[in-house]
């Protein structure tokens, strides 16, 4: 076989999406961000929307998302992404507009912006990376941190009388009429990755069909914040995060 045979399109079974560039990612080994970025890039590519997408980046580890996906980005203040997305979509209704946010961004400081964008039924997609911890700032407790889970601001484990219960924000949002699609997935197995990609595709399609707000929660690992190996993080996530944040659709209209 010569090189021409090897790279014959008929033999090509996989190719990195052109929407994702070759910039080395700053994310930790085993981090879910890398996989989700790739899936988003693939979906944008398959929908042929690279030149019609405007994405809003959060504050958190994914503050640098704009370095990795070749689309126009706006970097928002912490928690404010849904407000930016609201204005962008209202002024440019034919673009694909989505936010990409972590648990602190979406469910702590940004709670009001999240709820009200969803309540208004903005035609946007919200990609919510929930790893129950604040990775970028060094592993502090998040609203979604589990009971008893250790973090740098809950060194003895999250205590309910002090910090309240873990917040299931997606369940809250699913109750709003403005939300057409609320779903929860993960990217720790091949099967899970495929489901997440389908969910992202559906969320993006919903927004282009003006059905309202879609939220795709990706329950994720943070091996740095959790102080585990990536492999152990996946197992810990299945055993502890999934019971609190079960997989599947909470709403699909």
């Amino acid at each position: 076989m010569n090189i021409a045979d090897i790279i014959n399109p008929a033999n090509l079974v996989y190719e990195k999406t052109k929407v994702m560039n070759d910039t080395p990612m700053h994310y930790c080994p085993g981090c879910s961000h890398g996989v989700v970025h790739k899936l988003i890039g693939e979906v944008i590519d398959e929908m042929n929307m690279q030149d019609k997408t405007i994405a809003i980046a959060p504050v958190g580890c994914a503050v640098f998302a704009y370095k990795y996906l070749e689309i126009d980005w706006q970097q928002a203040a912490h928690g404010r992404a849904p407000a930016l997305a609201t204005a962008v979509k209202r002024l440019l209704p034919d673009r694909l507009v989505f936010t990409y946010q972590g648990d602190g961004d979406l469910a702590a400081i940004g709670t009001a912006e999240t709820i009200h964008a969803c309540n208004r039924g903005e035609n946007i997609a919200i990609i919510f990376i929930n790893n129950g911890i604040y990775g970028m700032t060094g592993g502090q407790m998040a609203p979604t941190t589990l009971k008893g889970m250790k973090s740098s601001t809950s060194p003895n484990g999250r205590e309910v009388p002090l910090a309240g219960n873990p917040l299931d924000i997606t369940k809250l949002l699913a109750q709003l009429e403005g939300v057409c699609y609320a779903t929860r997935h993960a990217v720790h197995t091949v099967a899970a990755v495929k489901k997440t990609k389908r969910a992202i595709r559906q969320a993006f399609e919903n927004s282009m069909q003006n059905k309202g707000t879609s939220i795709v929660e990706v329950v994720s690992t943070c091996s740095s914040g959790w102080k585990m190996t990536p492999a152990d993080s996946n197992d810990w996530m299945v055993d502890n995060m999934f019971p609190q944040y079960p997989m599947g659709d909470l709403k699909n209209e």
């Binding site: 030149d51 997408t53 503050v63 203040a77 204005a87 962008v88």
Partner: protein, 365 residues
């Protein structure tokens, strides 16, 4: 304000209403705001006029001032003419957004119809947000082009000018006005209609805008984060250079009876209207008093005041606060002549006679 009158050239309306009319007429793409007294008429008028049916302008009541300023950021990032308005406590909530807008070099217009503070304060008018606006209520080294209307006409004119300056320098512009001018009714000639920019025009005017990346260019990223210190310093150098340009080119002020003045009053907004009467009272008693009214608060008319300091015996700044602009007057005067201050706080408006008595007490020593 009924719709059938809007074809007439001269109208009678509140300052707040004039801002709404002017915004629609200058091709504003989006208004995002939250109600607060004494400026809710701005959004109410916009909603009543329903410009989404005529020009396609988006008018959206947000859930807070925090959300409003971030909606402005999103719109501005797309090269659109976006604005918001609020009053003092709400503008406090916008400070984070303003710092981000300045750092991301985003043009936009923010209106502060000032009320008494601090805290929840009062709905009566004040001028106590001068420091917040001109010295930076948000974090970091930045400035906002700041216009200070003194009449309903200027409320309309400054809306147009604020957008022009914001886009000329890629920076947020603030219209800083006291509650009285927002609420008072005066005659106004509204600006002519300008169509909203087409997408091609936006691309030409603002090639950095996020509209979706075509194959013909690299990605556009609206961002204020610079991880490397030298990159952050570089951004700051660019911003500072821009502010020096603004200081050189955009100073606007008005002089009343200043040619032979021996005493100078410095005041903006409604305080200047009051001081105009004080100048009349003084002149009637043979006192040669003049008034310098800054119309741009940033850039401050430093040179003009400096020149007056060469000729007058004393200067008094008159403000509805505890003494804010007076500090910039003192900097300009640089010790050449005495600079005094007279002010009322808590939403109280001084009378021309009161200011005249203060002038005699403080300046005629």
């Amino acid at each position: 304000m009924s719709k059938k009158n809007q074809d007439k050239e001269v109208l009678l309306m509140k300052g707040n209403e004039a801002i709404a009319h002017a915004a629609i007429r200058c091709g504003c793409d989006g208004y995002f705001g939250y109600p607060i007294t004494p400026q809710s008429e701005i959004m109410e008028t916009l909603m009543e006029m329903a410009p989404w049916e005529t020009t396609g302008m988006v008018v959206l009541q947000a859930e807070s001032e925090t959300a409003s300023i971030n909606m402005v950021y999103g719109a501005a990032g797309c090269g659109k003419k976006a604005m918001t308005s609020s009053s003092s406590p709400g503008v406090s909530l916008m400070q984070e957004g303003i710092s981000y807008l300045a750092a991301a070099e985003l043009p936009c217009v923010i209106v502060n119809v000032m009320r008494g503070g601090p805290g929840l304060g009062t709905i009566q008018p004040s001028q106590a947000d001068y420091f917040q606006t001109v010295k930076g209520g948000g974090h970091g080294d930045y400035k906002m082009i700041t216009l200070a209307p003194g009449s309903v006409q200027e409320m309309a004119d400054h809306t147009v000018m604020a957008f022009e300056l914001a886009f000329k320098y890629r920076t947020p512009a603030m219209i800083l006005v006291d509650g009285i001018i927002g609420q008072m009714m005066e005659k106004v000639v509204l600006p002519p209609y300008q169509p909203r920019w087409t997408e091609d025009e936006i691309i030409a005017i603002s090639p950095w805008a996020t509209l979706g990346k075509p194959t013909t260019r690299k990605v556009n990223v609206i961002n204020s984060l610079r991880m490397e210190a030298h990159e952050m310093e570089e951004l700051n150098n660019i911003l500072q250079g821009r502010y020096r340009e603004i200081e050189k080119n955009e100073v606007i002020y008005e002089e009343i009876n200043c040619d032979d003045a021996e005493y100078l009053l410095v005041a903006f907004g409604i305080s200047a209207r009051i001081c105009q009467k004080t100048v009349e009272l003084a002149r009637a008693e043979g006192l040669k008093v003049g008034l310098l009214r800054p119309i741009t608060l940033f850039p401050f008319p430093t040179e003009a005041i400096k020149k007056h300091a060469e000729k007058v015996k004393a200067i008094m700044s008159v403000e509805m606060n505890a003494g804010q602009m007076v500090e910039d007057v003192r900097l300009a005067v640089n010790g050449k002549v005495p600079v005094e201050f007279y002010g009322r706080m808590g939403g109280i408006v001084p009378s021309p006679n009161e200011v005249f008595e203060a002038l005699k007490t403080k300046l005629l020593k």
